[in-house]
Protein backbone atom coordinates (compact mmCIF):
# COMPACT_ATOMS: atom_id res chain seq x y z
CA UNK A 1 0.00 0.00 0.00
CA UNK A 2 2.87 2.39 0.82
CA UNK A 3 4.18 1.91 -2.72
CA UNK A 4 0.76 2.69 -4.18
CA UNK A 5 0.84 5.87 -2.09
CA UNK A 6 4.21 6.84 -3.62
CA UNK A 7 2.76 6.37 -7.13
CA UNK A 8 -0.39 8.31 -6.13
CA UNK A 9 1.57 11.28 -4.85
CA UNK A 10 3.64 11.39 -8.04
CA UNK A 11 0.47 11.21 -10.16
CA UNK A 12 -0.92 14.18 -8.26
CA UNK A 13 2.36 16.04 -8.69
CA UNK A 14 2.28 15.31 -12.43
CA UNK A 15 -1.25 16.70 -12.73
CA UNK A 16 -0.26 19.86 -10.88
CA UNK A 17 2.90 20.38 -12.95
CA UNK A 18 1.05 19.67 -16.19
CA UNK A 19 -1.25 22.55 -15.21
CA UNK A 20 -4.37 20.41 -14.96
CA UNK A 21 -5.64 22.65 -12.15
CA UNK A 22 -5.59 25.67 -14.51
CA UNK A 23 -9.21 24.74 -15.29
CA UNK A 24 -10.01 26.44 -11.99
CA UNK A 25 -9.29 29.78 -13.64
CA UNK A 26 -11.94 29.01 -16.26
CA UNK A 27 -14.37 27.97 -13.55
CA UNK A 28 -13.69 31.14 -11.55
CA UNK A 29 -14.28 33.35 -14.60
CA UNK A 30 -17.50 31.46 -15.42
CA UNK A 31 -18.84 31.84 -11.90
CA UNK A 32 -17.92 35.53 -11.74
CA UNK A 33 -19.74 36.16 -15.01
CA UNK A 34 -22.71 34.15 -13.73
CA UNK A 35 -22.80 36.08 -10.46
CA UNK A 36 -22.95 39.40 -12.31
CA UNK A 37 -25.48 38.19 -14.88
CA UNK A 38 -27.78 36.35 -12.51
CA UNK A 39 -28.69 39.48 -10.59
CA UNK A 40 -29.90 41.12 -13.78
CA UNK A 41 -31.72 38.30 -15.56
CA UNK A 42 -33.28 36.20 -12.81
CA UNK A 43 -35.47 37.50 -10.08
CA UNK A 44 -36.08 35.18 -7.14
CA UNK A 45 -34.37 32.18 -8.69
CA UNK A 46 -30.78 33.28 -8.24
CA UNK A 47 -29.92 30.24 -6.11
CA UNK A 48 -31.41 27.79 -8.61
CA UNK A 49 -29.52 29.32 -11.53
CA UNK A 50 -26.21 29.70 -9.72
CA UNK A 51 -26.28 26.22 -8.15
CA UNK A 52 -27.36 24.52 -11.38
CA UNK A 53 -24.71 26.32 -13.40
CA UNK A 54 -22.01 25.76 -10.78
CA UNK A 55 -22.72 22.05 -10.31
CA UNK A 56 -22.97 21.50 -14.07
CA UNK A 57 -19.60 23.19 -14.58
CA UNK A 58 -18.01 21.15 -11.77
CA UNK A 59 -19.42 17.98 -13.31
CA UNK A 60 -18.40 18.72 -16.92
CA UNK A 61 -14.89 19.90 -16.02
CA UNK A 62 -14.42 16.86 -13.75
CA UNK A 63 -15.76 14.57 -16.45
CA UNK A 64 -13.28 15.88 -19.02
CA UNK A 65 -10.36 15.48 -16.60
CA UNK A 66 -11.39 12.02 -15.43
CA UNK A 67 -11.91 10.63 -18.95
CA UNK A 68 -8.92 12.12 -20.73
CA UNK A 69 -6.38 11.95 -17.93
CA UNK A 70 -7.87 8.67 -16.66
CA UNK A 71 -7.20 7.01 -20.00
CA UNK A 72 -3.71 8.56 -20.17
CA UNK A 73 -2.77 7.25 -16.72
CA UNK A 74 -1.57 3.95 -18.11
CA UNK A 75 -1.30 4.58 -21.85
CA UNK A 76 1.06 7.53 -21.40
CA UNK A 77 3.35 5.46 -19.19
CA UNK A 78 3.32 2.70 -21.79
CA UNK A 79 3.89 5.02 -24.75
CA UNK A 80 6.71 6.92 -23.10
CA UNK A 81 8.04 3.74 -21.48
CA UNK A 82 8.39 5.47 -18.12
CA UNK A 83 6.81 2.34 -16.68
CA UNK A 84 9.84 0.16 -17.46
CA UNK A 85 12.10 1.63 -14.80
CA UNK A 86 9.24 1.76 -12.30
CA UNK A 87 8.20 -1.87 -12.66
CA UNK A 88 11.84 -2.88 -12.23
CA UNK A 89 11.48 -1.64 -8.65
CA UNK A 90 9.76 -3.81 -6.05
CA UNK A 91 6.32 -2.63 -7.17
CA UNK A 92 3.46 -4.93 -8.09
CA UNK A 93 1.43 -4.02 -11.11
CA UNK A 94 -1.76 -3.72 -9.10
CA UNK A 95 0.01 -1.32 -6.72
CA UNK A 96 0.94 0.82 -9.70
CA UNK A 97 -2.67 0.85 -10.95
CA UNK A 98 -4.09 1.59 -7.50
CA UNK A 99 -1.60 4.41 -7.07
CA UNK A 100 -2.47 5.91 -10.44
CA UNK A 101 -6.18 5.72 -9.62
CA UNK A 102 -5.72 7.25 -6.16
CA UNK A 103 -3.50 10.00 -7.56
CA UNK A 104 -6.06 11.13 -10.09
CA UNK A 105 -8.91 10.88 -7.59
CA UNK A 106 -6.84 13.06 -5.24
CA UNK A 107 -6.35 15.57 -8.06
CA UNK A 108 -10.07 15.56 -8.78
CA UNK A 109 -10.86 15.93 -5.08
CA UNK A 110 -8.63 19.00 -4.77
CA UNK A 111 -10.02 20.42 -8.00
CA UNK A 112 -13.63 19.74 -7.05
CA UNK A 113 -13.15 21.12 -3.54
CA UNK A 114 -11.67 24.33 -4.93
CA UNK A 115 -14.60 24.70 -7.34
CA UNK A 116 -17.07 23.99 -4.51
CA UNK A 117 -15.50 26.79 -2.46
CA UNK A 118 -15.85 29.07 -5.50
CA UNK A 119 -19.50 28.12 -5.86
CA UNK A 120 -20.21 28.81 -2.19
CA UNK A 121 -18.50 32.22 -2.46
CA UNK A 122 -20.70 33.12 -5.43
CA UNK A 123 -23.76 31.96 -3.50
CA UNK A 124 -22.77 34.23 -0.62
CA UNK A 125 -22.24 37.09 -3.07
CA UNK A 126 -25.66 36.57 -4.63
CA UNK A 127 -27.69 35.73 -1.50
CA UNK A 128 -25.55 37.64 1.02
CA UNK A 129 -25.82 34.61 3.33
CA UNK A 130 -25.55 30.83 3.49
CA UNK A 131 -28.32 28.72 5.00
CA UNK A 132 -28.29 25.28 6.58
CA UNK A 133 -30.14 23.87 3.56
CA UNK A 134 -27.23 24.91 1.33
CA UNK A 135 -25.37 21.90 2.72
CA UNK A 136 -27.13 19.92 0.00
CA UNK A 137 -24.85 21.70 -2.49
CA UNK A 138 -21.86 20.13 -0.75
CA UNK A 139 -23.56 16.72 -0.90
CA UNK A 140 -24.15 17.24 -4.64
CA UNK A 141 -20.45 18.09 -5.06
CA UNK A 142 -19.54 14.96 -3.09
CA UNK A 143 -21.72 12.86 -5.41
CA UNK A 144 -20.03 14.40 -8.42
CA UNK A 145 -16.69 13.37 -6.96
CA UNK A 146 -17.95 9.81 -6.42
CA UNK A 147 -19.14 9.72 -10.02
CA UNK A 148 -15.76 10.96 -11.24
CA UNK A 149 -13.95 8.27 -9.23
CA UNK A 150 -16.07 5.64 -10.93
CA UNK A 151 -15.31 7.13 -14.34
CA UNK A 152 -11.57 7.14 -13.59
CA UNK A 153 -11.76 3.44 -12.64
CA UNK A 154 -13.55 2.64 -15.91
CA UNK A 155 -11.10 4.71 -17.98
CA UNK A 156 -8.23 2.91 -16.28
CA UNK A 157 -9.75 -0.50 -17.03
CA UNK A 158 -10.29 0.27 -20.72
CA UNK A 159 -6.84 1.78 -21.15
CA UNK A 160 -5.34 -1.50 -19.90
CA UNK A 161 -6.44 -3.44 -22.95
CA UNK A 162 -7.21 -1.08 -25.79
CA UNK A 163 -5.98 2.06 -27.54
CA UNK A 164 -6.44 5.46 -25.86
CA UNK A 165 -9.02 6.55 -28.46
CA UNK A 166 -11.15 3.44 -28.00
CA UNK A 167 -10.76 3.67 -24.23
CA UNK A 168 -12.15 7.23 -24.34
CA UNK A 169 -15.06 6.09 -26.52
CA UNK A 170 -15.83 3.11 -24.26
CA UNK A 171 -15.67 5.24 -21.11
CA UNK A 172 -17.87 8.01 -22.47
CA UNK A 173 -20.24 5.42 -23.96
CA UNK A 174 -20.58 3.61 -20.66
CA UNK A 175 -21.12 6.91 -18.85
CA UNK A 176 -23.95 7.86 -21.20
CA UNK A 177 -25.52 4.40 -20.91
CA UNK A 178 -25.10 4.62 -17.13
CA UNK A 179 -27.27 7.74 -17.07
CA UNK A 180 -30.23 5.66 -18.33
CA UNK A 181 -29.79 2.49 -16.29
CA UNK A 182 -33.12 2.85 -14.49
CA UNK A 183 -34.97 3.22 -17.80
CA UNK A 184 -33.27 0.04 -19.01
CA UNK A 185 -34.27 -1.77 -15.81
CA UNK A 186 -37.86 -0.66 -16.07
CA UNK A 187 -38.45 -1.44 -19.74
CA UNK A 188 -42.01 -2.75 -20.12
CA UNK A 189 -41.83 -6.55 -20.02
CA UNK A 190 -44.62 -7.01 -22.53
CA UNK A 191 -42.55 -5.58 -25.43
CA UNK A 192 -39.92 -8.32 -25.23
CA UNK A 193 -39.47 -12.00 -24.50
CA UNK A 194 -38.97 -13.14 -20.88
CA UNK A 195 -35.37 -14.03 -21.68
CA UNK A 196 -34.69 -10.59 -23.15
CA UNK A 197 -36.40 -8.95 -20.18
CA UNK A 198 -34.23 -10.93 -17.75
CA UNK A 199 -31.13 -10.04 -19.79
CA UNK A 200 -31.82 -6.30 -19.85
CA UNK A 201 -32.67 -6.34 -16.16
CA UNK A 202 -29.45 -8.20 -15.35
CA UNK A 203 -27.50 -5.82 -17.57
CA UNK A 204 -28.99 -2.82 -15.81
CA UNK A 205 -27.51 -4.08 -12.52
CA UNK A 206 -24.15 -4.82 -14.10
CA UNK A 207 -23.77 -1.42 -15.79
CA UNK A 208 -22.61 1.50 -13.64
CA UNK A 209 -25.57 3.50 -12.40
CA UNK A 210 -24.77 7.19 -12.75
CA UNK A 211 -28.36 8.26 -12.34
CA UNK A 212 -28.27 8.01 -8.55
CA UNK A 213 -25.46 10.55 -8.35
CA UNK A 214 -27.56 13.36 -9.77
CA UNK A 215 -29.11 15.42 -6.97
CA UNK A 216 -28.72 18.73 -8.72
CA UNK A 217 -32.46 19.48 -8.57
CA UNK A 218 -32.54 18.94 -4.81
CA UNK A 219 -29.47 21.08 -4.25
CA UNK A 220 -30.68 23.86 -6.55
CA UNK A 221 -33.89 24.16 -4.55
CA UNK A 222 -32.18 23.86 -1.18
CA UNK A 223 -33.80 20.56 -0.30
CA UNK A 224 -32.00 18.00 1.86
CA UNK A 225 -30.47 14.89 0.32
CA UNK A 226 -31.51 11.72 2.22
CA UNK A 227 -28.75 10.29 4.42
CA UNK A 228 -29.51 6.80 3.12
CA UNK A 229 -28.70 7.92 -0.42
CA UNK A 230 -25.36 9.33 0.74
CA UNK A 231 -24.48 6.00 2.35
CA UNK A 232 -25.79 4.01 -0.62
CA UNK A 233 -23.84 6.04 -3.19
CA UNK A 234 -20.67 5.90 -1.11
CA UNK A 235 -20.88 2.12 -0.71
CA UNK A 236 -21.85 1.66 -4.36
CA UNK A 237 -18.83 3.66 -5.54
CA UNK A 238 -16.39 1.87 -3.24
CA UNK A 239 -17.61 -1.59 -4.26
CA UNK A 240 -17.96 -0.82 -7.96
CA UNK A 241 -14.52 0.85 -8.11
CA UNK A 242 -13.00 -2.14 -6.27
CA UNK A 243 -14.51 -4.53 -8.82
CA UNK A 244 -13.42 -2.46 -11.82
CA UNK A 245 -9.90 -1.98 -10.45
CA UNK A 246 -9.63 -5.70 -9.72
CA UNK A 247 -10.56 -6.42 -13.34
CA UNK A 248 -8.04 -3.80 -14.52
CA UNK A 249 -5.32 -5.35 -12.35
CA UNK A 250 -6.14 -8.83 -13.70
CA UNK A 251 -5.76 -7.58 -17.29
CA UNK A 252 -2.69 -5.46 -16.61
CA UNK A 253 -0.88 -8.18 -14.65
CA UNK A 254 -0.82 -10.32 -17.80
CA UNK A 255 0.06 -7.55 -20.21
CA UNK A 256 3.30 -7.76 -22.17
CA UNK A 257 4.87 -4.31 -22.30
CA UNK A 258 6.13 -3.53 -25.81
Amino acid sequence: MRRAGVVAWNTFREAVRDRVLYNLVFFALLMMAAAIAVGQISIGIEQTVIVSLGLSAISVIGLLISVFIGVALVSKELDKRTLYALLAKPVRRWEFLLGKFAGLVLTLAVNTAAMAVGLLLVMIYVKHTLERSDASVLVAVYFILLKLALIVALALLFSCFTTPLLAILFTVGLYVVGLYVLELRNLPAEVMSPAAAAFTRGLSYLLPNFENFNVMALAAHGRAVPGALILQNTMYTVIYCAMVLTAAAAVFSRKNLK
Binding site: R3, V6, N10, R13, E14, R17, D18, K80, R81, T82, Y84, A85, L86, L87, A88, K89, P90, V91, R92, R254, N256, L257
Partner: protein, 317 residues
Protein backbone atom coordinates in the same frame (compact mmCIF):
# COMPACT_ATOMS: atom_id res chain seq x y z
CA UNK B 1 33.24 -21.56 -7.13
CA UNK B 2 30.95 -18.54 -7.18
CA UNK B 3 27.23 -19.18 -7.38
CA UNK B 4 24.96 -18.25 -10.19
CA UNK B 5 23.46 -14.78 -10.26
CA UNK B 6 21.26 -15.38 -13.29
CA UNK B 7 20.02 -18.75 -14.55
CA UNK B 8 18.04 -18.97 -17.77
CA UNK B 9 16.49 -22.24 -18.87
CA UNK B 10 14.92 -22.81 -22.25
CA UNK B 11 13.52 -19.27 -22.29
CA UNK B 12 11.30 -18.72 -25.31
CA UNK B 13 9.23 -15.76 -26.38
CA UNK B 14 6.79 -15.79 -29.26
CA UNK B 15 4.66 -12.86 -30.33
CA UNK B 16 1.36 -13.50 -32.06
CA UNK B 17 0.62 -11.34 -35.08
CA UNK B 18 -1.80 -11.08 -37.98
CA UNK B 19 -5.48 -10.20 -37.92
CA UNK B 20 -6.55 -13.05 -35.64
CA UNK B 21 -3.15 -13.39 -33.95
CA UNK B 22 -2.85 -16.86 -35.45
CA UNK B 23 0.69 -16.39 -36.76
CA UNK B 24 3.63 -16.32 -34.40
CA UNK B 25 6.99 -14.62 -34.54
CA UNK B 26 9.72 -16.12 -32.38
CA UNK B 27 11.85 -13.43 -30.76
CA UNK B 28 13.74 -15.76 -28.49
CA UNK B 29 14.17 -19.48 -28.94
CA UNK B 30 15.12 -21.84 -26.13
CA UNK B 31 17.72 -19.65 -24.46
CA UNK B 32 19.92 -21.43 -21.93
CA UNK B 33 22.47 -19.27 -20.21
CA UNK B 34 24.05 -18.58 -16.82
CA UNK B 35 25.73 -15.53 -15.40
CA UNK B 36 28.12 -16.13 -12.52
CA UNK B 37 28.03 -14.04 -9.38
CA UNK B 38 30.50 -11.18 -9.55
CA UNK B 39 31.20 -11.33 -13.27
CA UNK B 40 30.61 -8.77 -15.99
CA UNK B 41 28.63 -10.50 -18.69
CA UNK B 42 28.14 -8.95 -22.11
CA UNK B 43 25.11 -9.88 -24.13
CA UNK B 44 25.91 -9.03 -27.71
CA UNK B 45 23.99 -9.24 -30.92
CA UNK B 46 22.64 -7.10 -33.76
CA UNK B 47 19.42 -5.12 -33.53
CA UNK B 48 16.42 -7.42 -33.23
CA UNK B 49 18.53 -10.38 -32.10
CA UNK B 50 16.59 -10.86 -28.86
CA UNK B 51 18.82 -9.02 -26.36
CA UNK B 52 16.18 -6.61 -25.10
CA UNK B 53 13.55 -9.35 -25.18
CA UNK B 54 15.71 -11.46 -22.85
CA UNK B 55 16.28 -8.54 -20.50
CA UNK B 56 12.59 -7.59 -20.47
CA UNK B 57 11.73 -11.20 -19.65
CA UNK B 58 14.21 -11.17 -16.78
CA UNK B 59 12.67 -7.95 -15.45
CA UNK B 60 9.10 -9.25 -15.70
CA UNK B 61 8.09 -6.61 -18.24
CA UNK B 62 7.02 -9.33 -20.66
CA UNK B 63 6.15 -12.95 -19.98
CA UNK B 64 7.81 -16.04 -21.46
CA UNK B 65 5.97 -18.38 -23.82
CA UNK B 66 8.06 -21.22 -22.40
CA UNK B 67 11.00 -21.70 -20.11
CA UNK B 68 12.02 -20.11 -16.88
CA UNK B 69 14.66 -17.94 -15.31
CA UNK B 70 15.92 -17.16 -11.83
CA UNK B 71 17.87 -14.25 -10.48
CA UNK B 72 19.76 -14.82 -7.23
CA UNK B 73 17.94 -18.18 -7.04
CA UNK B 74 14.53 -16.50 -7.00
CA UNK B 75 11.98 -16.83 -9.80
CA UNK B 76 11.67 -13.77 -12.04
CA UNK B 77 7.97 -13.56 -11.15
CA UNK B 78 8.94 -12.61 -7.59
CA UNK B 79 8.70 -8.81 -7.52
CA UNK B 80 10.38 -8.57 -4.10
CA UNK B 81 13.54 -9.89 -5.75
CA UNK B 82 13.74 -6.51 -7.53
CA UNK B 83 15.17 -5.06 -4.31
CA UNK B 84 18.45 -6.71 -5.29
CA UNK B 85 18.38 -5.75 -8.96
CA UNK B 86 19.16 -2.56 -10.80
CA UNK B 87 17.84 -2.13 -14.31
CA UNK B 88 18.55 0.41 -17.02
CA UNK B 89 16.00 0.21 -19.86
CA UNK B 90 17.05 0.75 -23.46
CA UNK B 91 16.75 4.44 -24.40
CA UNK B 92 15.36 5.29 -20.99
CA UNK B 93 12.71 7.93 -20.58
CA UNK B 94 11.56 9.29 -17.26
CA UNK B 95 8.90 11.64 -15.99
CA UNK B 96 9.92 14.83 -17.76
CA UNK B 97 8.13 17.08 -15.28
CA UNK B 98 10.57 15.98 -12.56
CA UNK B 99 14.15 17.06 -11.98
CA UNK B 100 16.94 14.48 -11.83
CA UNK B 101 17.03 14.70 -8.04
CA UNK B 102 13.25 14.28 -7.82
CA UNK B 103 13.13 11.28 -10.13
CA UNK B 104 15.91 9.56 -8.18
CA UNK B 105 14.15 10.33 -4.89
CA UNK B 106 10.91 8.96 -6.35
CA UNK B 107 12.52 5.66 -7.31
CA UNK B 108 14.38 5.47 -4.00
CA UNK B 109 11.04 5.60 -2.15
CA UNK B 110 10.21 2.11 -3.42
CA UNK B 111 13.10 0.73 -1.41
CA UNK B 112 13.20 0.67 2.35
CA UNK B 113 15.36 3.73 2.77
CA UNK B 114 15.08 6.46 5.36
CA UNK B 115 14.66 10.07 4.21
CA UNK B 116 18.23 10.90 5.21
CA UNK B 117 19.58 7.82 3.42
CA UNK B 118 17.58 8.68 0.30
CA UNK B 119 18.93 12.20 0.24
CA UNK B 120 22.51 11.06 0.71
CA UNK B 121 22.25 8.41 -2.01
CA UNK B 122 20.60 10.77 -4.49
CA UNK B 123 23.39 13.31 -4.02
CA UNK B 124 26.05 10.61 -4.33
CA UNK B 125 24.53 9.16 -7.50
CA UNK B 126 24.10 12.56 -9.16
CA UNK B 127 27.77 13.21 -8.52
CA UNK B 128 28.75 9.76 -9.75
CA UNK B 129 27.03 10.19 -13.11
CA UNK B 130 28.11 13.82 -13.47
CA UNK B 131 24.71 15.47 -13.11
CA UNK B 132 25.15 17.37 -9.86
CA UNK B 133 25.08 20.74 -11.62
CA UNK B 134 21.94 19.82 -13.60
CA UNK B 135 20.10 18.34 -10.61
CA UNK B 136 17.42 21.04 -10.48
CA UNK B 137 16.60 21.07 -14.20
CA UNK B 138 13.45 19.27 -15.34
CA UNK B 139 14.21 16.17 -17.40
CA UNK B 140 12.28 17.58 -20.38
CA UNK B 141 15.33 19.80 -20.95
CA UNK B 142 17.82 16.92 -20.77
CA UNK B 143 19.71 15.52 -23.76
CA UNK B 144 19.60 11.81 -24.61
CA UNK B 145 22.99 11.29 -23.01
CA UNK B 146 21.91 13.03 -19.81
CA UNK B 147 18.79 10.84 -19.62
CA UNK B 148 21.04 7.81 -20.01
CA UNK B 149 23.03 9.00 -17.00
CA UNK B 150 19.84 9.44 -14.97
CA UNK B 151 18.89 5.92 -16.00
CA UNK B 152 22.21 4.57 -14.82
CA UNK B 153 21.92 6.45 -11.54
CA UNK B 154 18.46 5.06 -10.78
CA UNK B 155 19.69 1.55 -11.62
CA UNK B 156 22.46 1.56 -9.00
CA UNK B 157 20.89 3.94 -6.47
CA UNK B 158 19.78 1.20 -4.06
CA UNK B 159 23.08 -0.67 -4.13
CA UNK B 160 21.76 -3.78 -5.92
CA UNK B 161 23.63 -7.08 -6.11
CA UNK B 162 22.80 -7.61 -9.78
CA UNK B 163 22.80 -4.80 -12.34
CA UNK B 164 21.17 -5.35 -15.73
CA UNK B 165 21.84 -2.67 -18.31
CA UNK B 166 20.16 -2.59 -21.72
CA UNK B 167 22.46 -0.80 -24.17
CA UNK B 168 24.10 1.40 -21.50
CA UNK B 169 26.46 3.14 -23.97
CA UNK B 170 23.69 4.10 -26.36
CA UNK B 171 23.42 7.83 -26.98
CA UNK B 172 26.58 8.68 -25.08
CA UNK B 173 29.54 10.66 -26.37
CA UNK B 174 33.06 9.20 -25.94
CA UNK B 175 33.43 10.85 -22.52
CA UNK B 176 30.08 9.47 -21.39
CA UNK B 177 30.98 6.00 -22.64
CA UNK B 178 34.23 6.12 -20.77
CA UNK B 179 32.37 7.12 -17.60
CA UNK B 180 29.88 4.27 -17.99
CA UNK B 181 32.74 1.84 -18.53
CA UNK B 182 34.36 3.13 -15.33
CA UNK B 183 31.08 2.69 -13.43
CA UNK B 184 30.75 -0.90 -14.69
CA UNK B 185 34.32 -1.68 -13.63
CA UNK B 186 33.66 -0.06 -10.26
CA UNK B 187 30.56 -2.22 -9.81
CA UNK B 188 32.64 -5.29 -10.58
CA UNK B 189 35.26 -4.18 -8.06
CA UNK B 190 32.48 -3.91 -5.47
CA UNK B 191 31.52 -7.53 -6.14
CA UNK B 192 28.37 -6.79 -8.11
CA UNK B 193 27.19 -8.89 -11.00
CA UNK B 194 26.71 -6.88 -14.18
CA UNK B 195 24.92 -8.07 -17.29
CA UNK B 196 24.70 -5.61 -20.12
CA UNK B 197 23.58 -5.80 -23.71
CA UNK B 198 25.41 -4.01 -26.44
CA UNK B 199 26.24 -4.04 -30.10
CA UNK B 200 29.42 -2.06 -29.51
CA UNK B 201 31.82 -4.96 -29.53
CA UNK B 202 34.90 -3.08 -28.38
CA UNK B 203 33.10 -2.28 -25.12
CA UNK B 204 32.24 -5.93 -24.63
CA UNK B 205 35.82 -7.03 -25.35
CA UNK B 206 37.17 -4.41 -22.97
CA UNK B 207 34.80 -4.96 -20.03
CA UNK B 208 33.44 -8.47 -20.03
CA UNK B 209 34.63 -11.57 -18.26
CA UNK B 210 32.35 -13.51 -20.57
CA UNK B 211 30.06 -12.70 -23.45
CA UNK B 212 27.02 -14.39 -24.89
CA UNK B 213 26.40 -13.89 -28.59
CA UNK B 214 22.78 -13.93 -29.69
CA UNK B 215 21.66 -13.77 -33.31
CA UNK B 216 18.17 -14.37 -34.64
CA UNK B 217 16.78 -15.18 -31.20
CA UNK B 218 19.27 -18.00 -30.63
CA UNK B 219 22.36 -18.07 -28.47
CA UNK B 220 25.34 -18.77 -30.74
CA UNK B 221 28.17 -18.86 -28.27
CA UNK B 222 29.15 -18.10 -24.68
CA UNK B 223 32.61 -17.65 -23.28
CA UNK B 224 35.46 -15.29 -22.56
CA UNK B 225 35.88 -12.94 -25.54
CA UNK B 226 39.35 -14.39 -26.33
CA UNK B 227 38.42 -18.07 -26.17
CA UNK B 228 35.22 -17.52 -28.08
CA UNK B 229 37.15 -16.03 -30.97
CA UNK B 230 40.12 -18.41 -30.88
CA UNK B 231 37.84 -21.38 -31.28
CA UNK B 232 36.43 -20.07 -34.48
CA UNK B 233 38.85 -18.43 -36.88
CA UNK B 234 42.54 -18.09 -37.21
CA UNK B 235 44.71 -17.16 -40.18
CA UNK B 236 48.08 -15.78 -41.25
CA UNK B 237 48.87 -12.41 -42.72
CA UNK B 238 51.79 -11.96 -45.12
CA UNK B 239 53.17 -8.47 -45.59
CA UNK B 240 55.21 -8.06 -48.76
CA UNK B 241 56.62 -5.60 -51.29
CA UNK B 242 56.62 -6.04 -55.03
CA UNK B 243 59.16 -4.63 -57.48
CA UNK B 244 57.17 -3.81 -60.62
CA UNK B 245 53.91 -5.57 -61.39
CA UNK B 246 52.77 -9.17 -61.35
CA UNK B 247 49.82 -11.10 -62.70
CA UNK B 248 50.11 -13.81 -60.07
CA UNK B 249 46.65 -14.75 -58.67
CA UNK B 250 47.74 -14.36 -55.04
CA UNK B 251 49.00 -10.81 -55.68
CA UNK B 252 45.64 -9.93 -57.14
CA UNK B 253 43.96 -11.18 -53.93
CA UNK B 254 46.20 -9.04 -51.69
CA UNK B 255 45.20 -5.63 -50.33
CA UNK B 256 47.52 -2.86 -51.48
CA UNK B 257 48.30 0.03 -49.12
CA UNK B 258 50.94 2.37 -50.53
CA UNK B 259 53.77 0.22 -51.87
CA UNK B 260 53.04 -2.69 -49.55
CA UNK B 261 50.66 -5.60 -49.87
CA UNK B 262 48.80 -7.57 -47.22
CA UNK B 263 47.51 -11.06 -47.91
CA UNK B 264 45.55 -13.25 -45.53
CA UNK B 265 45.75 -17.01 -45.99
CA UNK B 266 44.80 -20.09 -44.00
CA UNK B 267 47.55 -21.46 -41.75
CA UNK B 268 47.98 -24.65 -43.78
CA UNK B 269 48.40 -22.69 -47.03
CA UNK B 270 51.08 -20.39 -45.65
CA UNK B 271 54.23 -21.99 -47.09
CA UNK B 272 52.66 -22.59 -50.46
CA UNK B 273 51.56 -18.95 -50.59
CA UNK B 274 55.04 -17.68 -49.65
CA UNK B 275 56.61 -19.75 -52.44
CA UNK B 276 54.12 -18.45 -54.99
CA UNK B 277 54.68 -14.86 -53.91
CA UNK B 278 58.50 -15.20 -54.06
CA UNK B 279 58.19 -16.74 -57.51
CA UNK B 280 56.20 -13.68 -58.53
CA UNK B 281 59.02 -11.43 -57.38
CA UNK B 282 57.67 -10.41 -54.00
CA UNK B 283 59.89 -9.55 -51.06
CA UNK B 284 58.35 -10.93 -47.86
CA UNK B 285 58.53 -8.38 -45.04
CA UNK B 286 56.70 -10.20 -42.28
CA UNK B 287 54.34 -13.05 -41.47
CA UNK B 288 52.00 -12.76 -38.50
CA UNK B 289 49.19 -14.69 -36.95
CA UNK B 290 45.77 -13.18 -37.41
CA UNK B 291 43.40 -13.55 -34.52
CA UNK B 292 39.86 -12.85 -35.50
CA UNK B 293 38.30 -10.13 -33.39
CA UNK B 294 35.04 -10.55 -31.59
CA UNK B 295 33.58 -8.28 -34.24
CA UNK B 296 34.54 -10.65 -37.04
CA UNK B 297 33.16 -13.61 -35.13
CA UNK B 298 29.98 -11.68 -34.56
CA UNK B 299 29.72 -10.53 -38.18
CA UNK B 300 30.24 -14.10 -39.42
CA UNK B 301 27.32 -15.25 -37.28
CA UNK B 302 25.12 -12.43 -38.51
CA UNK B 303 26.02 -13.16 -42.13
CA UNK B 304 25.30 -16.87 -41.62
CA UNK B 305 21.98 -16.08 -39.98
CA UNK B 306 20.96 -13.76 -42.81
CA UNK B 307 21.97 -16.32 -45.40
CA UNK B 308 19.90 -18.95 -43.60
CA UNK B 309 16.92 -16.60 -43.38
CA UNK B 310 17.17 -15.87 -47.14
CA UNK B 311 17.39 -19.59 -47.89
CA UNK B 312 14.25 -20.27 -45.86
CA UNK B 313 12.49 -17.41 -47.62
CA UNK B 314 13.48 -18.71 -51.07
CA UNK B 315 12.47 -22.30 -50.27
CA UNK B 316 9.20 -20.94 -48.85
CA UNK B 317 8.42 -19.37 -52.20
Amino acid sequence: MPGLAIEIENLTKEYPFGFLHLKKKTSLEGLNMQVQTGEVFGFIGPNGAGKSTTIKLLMGLIFPTAGDARILSKPISDVEMHREIGYLPEQPYFYDYLTAAEVLDYFARFHDLTAADRKERVERMLKKVGLETARKIQLRKYSKGMLQRVGLAQAILHDPKVVILDEPMSGLDPVGRREVRDIILELKKDGKTVMFSTHILSDAEMLCDRVGVIVGGKLRGVGAPGTLVDMKTQGMEILFELAGTSNAPLVAKATCTGDRYRLQVAEEELYNAIEQLRAAGARILSVSQVKASLEEFFMNLVAADRAQASAVEVSGK
